[in-house]
Subunit: 305 residues, 4 copies
């Protein structure tokens, strides 16, 4: 199976002031991401408020991204939901519209407590789009599925034919590396924590990743990998430190999904509000966040619209 | 607002061997519950695998229960989902088909961390069926919403006009009692833990409850309340102890949703399998559970089909 | 073995302004507790900051309480520590000075993860004072030992000859009742949550308890049991509701160990400060707490010094 | 203040078959560690079962290590305990016997919930040995003190004069790096997770660390740093991967404290059993662990006695 090289972006879902999904900005959004060095998108994931969208909205978004994708730009559709039947339908739809791949996190309800349950769940979804690579999206802080990933790889290996790898959004670089080493590097381990990308490059030899902050800070994040590739450790560190500074700021503004989405407006691509139960930033909070970003020189280094 | 007196059942969702929802048993199911002393149903909740059903399936189930309900038998529809727009639609549908009330738990994703977020969420749903009583279903072990319920009552009081009360499925009888005492007993506090019903009657003066084990052990559970009412503490204790013995058994067979649903087959109302990621009991496990239930004399005291 | 009937108090440790242990108030303290209906003390437990005392201080306190105890007033010494050798020494000391019984919670470090580990730990301590009843103090919120207590009873039954029972400070009245029913009521289950005493009397038939708020609110807490005994449910409820109101207040002032200890000063028995890392109340906080207690009529119902 | 360069070992506490502390092996132990490239020891920490030793035992061990230390070999004494007075005494003792530095983790009881509480605790201990560098040992998985470390550095900066830095035993390389960058690198950030040392070198520029597996795998762990220093990334990765393989094995044998201590016997320096509540390995388990270690070639690469 083809491996993902470079960084894939997890886009926000553009919304109108009334909360309706807004497909209109997507072509410009896709072009912008490609122009800033991103290799594709992971649509309808946590950054995209995927769980908070109706099935029809998720399909419409997947279609819009596939249609808007520049040549070679990969569209991976997150199809996870609490309802397996819905996920199966979304997987088949992703295949039908020509997506490059699919992915799913563990359902947050009921809480997955055993590897076997997770395998049953992923197996059915993967089987609904057997020609597409399937990525498991490991983000236990969000759904409570704190399962050992090496055991999971052992369980799916030979059982889910189109299992491609894991989008690994968790703290343990030890486990990440053990997954990477599994079966001679059989699976594609996508790094999923923007703040430790350099650490992962050094220890784990990561080649690809899926990122949330690349929506606005993609040039810097991409450059970390390039500097590392070129053996320029000092530059890689400086870039990673800057990436962390940006993350320090958004952590004070409800994180990437809320604060990060609002940054898009500040760099010139207004994507509208978040859905309830997220609490949108007030105008005062936006102004304060802007000031903090200016103080670290963000607007000179951020994505170019 | 009318208070719920007595016990409301949280029904399982009947399914065919292939996993399709099966509406056919519902009239008999409703009659059976009423015949065993239950006062209504809380449809599409956790026992009903509500989060694992499609929107269309949830609507079909709600309709079937409303149509099948004997006179005076309350149908409360659980409309919670990760997608507020879906919940709003389900709430409006519940109103349209003539349900008695609606309810919602906190979404498991994104995890609710503040009372204000929960209020925003409930407010929108309740507003979609303003003529129906709205119950918040507090079950933090399932969705991580470990929020202080007295603070929540303060926040909704005067803000959500049709807020009726809480289905309280949590360990703290202290908090339960504090909620019951709030504003002179303004809200309807439905006890939601079958194993401590007697404790709740004594301390909290509970008048109503929503139960999962009443699907098969309803006669006993209802009798606890009657014995208490009659001042027969010894009998109430014996009944509650028996109720706990039944729960001891199902805890060894993946709990009420999996083990309990399988008991329905054993008492003569086969409701089919559970949905993935639940792991269904094997035939051996079923036989073993049956033996344990026989050993405690369950089949002489269980619901009469 | 003799059962504990009625309520045992968990005393605070009197300290001088400089933080030294102050043995001087103990005779008056013991007489006061007995005079307000308490049946004994559980010395050096969590209310007594036992883990924050040196071994020598713990011994001196145990001795002072044994010497000060009125006739028939039981002194149980908590001897738990992270260092089993220290606990063994404290147990032997308790025996030597004539304590009525001993107890221990699970060590918070290393975190106990298995029943077998807990049995090993308790077994050694109990064996150091084989003539005294040994109580396990179950308070998992403090030490992370969330172990199933029925399994623990099975494991110690027949193995620790002087195992007397459990001081049960946890939310699950279901598990409490299952422990009480174990082997025909073989073990002494001491209720350990002041706010749910009535619930426990009703469901579990609790006969004894160990309490933290009885230091200042003992008359009310004792009266709950008396009212229940006399079949006066309305009075029992009113008293339990008042007990909860007092607990509502201390929860706003860092709980019983900090806020409760300061109440002692307000009722006329100044016990001095708490040890670091506890943060003592400021004078402003004390005044504010006093006001809240006045507002609920606490000083008319509290312990008489 | 002098920075620690290179790796410091967290030694096990040698014990006799009856569980008594055994000081006899310590001179050979110290020489062995120095001979395998370690720069010092962190005595009576978690690997050393420090919390499970009496105060007298802790002092005797500290003295033995100071006496046995080769020239330039740093002895840092962990003095943390639940009882601040005991810790203060141990700190003064460490100073008196000529230890190089002291350290303390947060007490596991009462659980530290606020930065201010931790500062109060560390402040008093540090003040008892004001001429020695004081290291905070951050290991929240063991004591529940999940506090933000940058905030902690801000709080101690300018308040605890001999605060030297943090032994950081936690997953977040993001936070580790932020601590390292704090105030221009003012504090000494000692890496404390053997399995991610390379990641930390790359991202965080770690210069020193405190390790548990260096007791038996020190040559490899030290060589990771050397290879990195020399720019030999491939070798550093191979060494780190091997280090992880060793850790994979000990994770199957109750971790470093139990399994690791038993490895010492296998490499020729028998340090005896662990204390209760740790469950010692059976002979069968030891044999099985030995086989697994042979399979990865451990005995060719391990420390030389």
């Amino acid at each position: 199976m083809e491996r993902i090289k470079g960084l894939v972006d997890a886009p926000f879902t553009p919304m109108k002031a009334n909360g309706d999904v807004n497909l209109e900005p997507i072509p410009a959004y896709a072009a912008m991401l490609a122009g800033n060095g991103l290799k594709g998108v992971f649509v309808n994931g946590s950054s995209g408020e995927g769980y908070m969208l109706t099935s029809d909205e998720r399909k419409a978004l997947a279609e819009a991204w596939v249609k808007s994708a520049p040549k070679g730009f990969k569209v991976i559709v997150h199809v996870g939901s609490c309802c397996l039947r819905e996920s199966v339908e979304l997987a088949a739809h992703a295949k039908a519209i020509g997506a490059w791949g699919i992915g799913s996190m563990a359902p947050p309800f009921p809480k997955i407590g055993r590897v076997e349950e997770l395998v049953l769940y992923c197996e059915r979804i993967a089987a609904a789009a057997p020609e597409l690579p399937f990525y498991y999206y490991h983000i236990p802080a969000f759904n409570g599925a704190f399962l050992p990933m090496v055991d999971f790889l052992k369980a799916v290996d030979g059982r889910i034919p189109n299992f491609a790898g894991i989008k690994y959004t968790f703290e343990s670089l030890y486990e990440y590396n053990q997954c990477r080493l599994y079966a001679g590097g059989k699976f594609d381990m996508l790094h999923g924590q923007d703040e430790t990308y350099l650490a992962s490059l050094a220890q784990g030899g990561a080649e690809g990743g899926i990122c949330g902050t690349t929506n606005y800070n993609g040039r810097v994040q991409v450059a970390i990998g390039e500097a590392w590739e070129q053996g320029d450790l000092e530059r890689a560190r400086e870039l990673q430190n800057f990436s962390q500074e940006v993350i320090n700021v958004i952590c004070r503004y409800r994180g990437n999904i809320v604060g990060g989405k609002r940054i898009m407006k500040l760099i010139g691509l207004d994507l509208g509000p978040n859905r309830i139960p997220w609490r949108n930033l007030t105008d005062e909070e936006e102004a304060s966040m802007k000031k903090e970003l200016e103080a670290i020189g963000f607007f000179e280094r951020c994505n170019i619209i």
